[in-house]
Amino acid sequence: MDVNCAAGVMSSMVSCRDTGAGLNPSAALHNLLVCPIPRKSAARILEREHYLHSFPAGTVLCFGVMLDNRLTGAITLGAGPALAYRLVDGAEPQDCLTLTRFWLSDDLPKNAESRVLGVIFRYLKRHTDLKFLISYSDPSAGHLGIIYQATGWLYTGLSSAMPLYDLGDGRLRHGRSLNNFLGSRDQGYLKKQGIKINAIKQSAKHRYLYFLDPKWRGYLKSAVLPYPIKEGNNGNN
């Protein structure tokens, strides 16, 4: 599937699936099954297939996408950035989750991403009290978030990216790792303790929100902006 690498959705090479000759794509869409999968299985498939080749820390829910008994996709929802919930007035950390990984095999029929997200939205609305989801797409990887645009997420612009930190060993650490490792990520404090630390700027990411509970839509503190489009594209994205 030569998708335009929407947020976290990676085009990939997976061996050809036997979906039967002349299978009607819309029938195949209806045969897609979204189901829970074990963390280890999600990690295995995402580390192999997703472009980031990693399993996100703080994952709380893992879903798989099955077609004809094959595991053809994996999705994770997790804690995401600690203060992201503050985008919505009155929201608390437990009101939202971040869609942290979304990978589907290229062999799935067209519109599979929308179908899968639609199923997830429906079940989250019905069975949880989550109010909204957040997701990010990385423009530095050529991602605009086309799938989020296609499924009606609200675009709130580029997020201010959190830096990564180098303690001089060349290894880049997340701020949370510094908290765990050194007790703080405060550069001034760490400098006073004699710890040299370099903050490495990261590129900002497109941020999207999806309201599972539409009542909360009115409390969004950030302005809703027009969807980003590919440079040189006149809107036919």
Binding site: C35, P38, L61, N69, R70, L71, Y123, L124, H127, T128
Partner: protein
Amino acid sequence: MEITDLPLGILREATWNPNQLDEKALEKLKQSIKRYGLVENLVVRSKDGYFEVLSGNQRLKVLDELNLQIVPCIVLELNDSEAKLLAQALNHIHGVDDLGLRAQLLREILSQIKQEEVLLVLPESSDNLTSLASIGQEELSVQLQNWQKSRLTKLSHLNFQLTSDQKKVVEEAITRFIPFARGNKSDNPTLRGQALYLLCQSYLGKE
């Protein structure tokens, strides 16, 4: 290709073989050979009066314990670099399981063979085997309902960053409230959490 039966005593492990198997996995390999026999031939080459194993070094480790004295082998004449290259090719060219299809296969096996027996020969732990075999079988609604329920009953963590002097003060304050926490049962099973709560409640009550 001709298969030659060689006595175990003249086979040697390739000292340069980087592939390692831990004790647990070796035991499973042993159980598998016990159950099915040595179904794959070893690949060897003659070297300095003995036969060096290019493929089957792990099996070689357990054959003695299994009392298998004659080993079917494919004997090749290869120089050092070719022998090493073949060993790498034999060890590293393999496919990747589709986890959904593997789950289906495991369910079929488990419907016919007891889990204890399956666990003797497969590398998975009991929990891993069960969760792997469950792929595609569980309902999304059940998972989400359970998750939602656990969220409501889960205790929350609050993290603070303190200097060691500040920490001492906070620790002391919480410790002073522990006797009250003991005598003041709540749905919080952690004594220190309950003590901190009572401390804050007491402070707010004084305001």
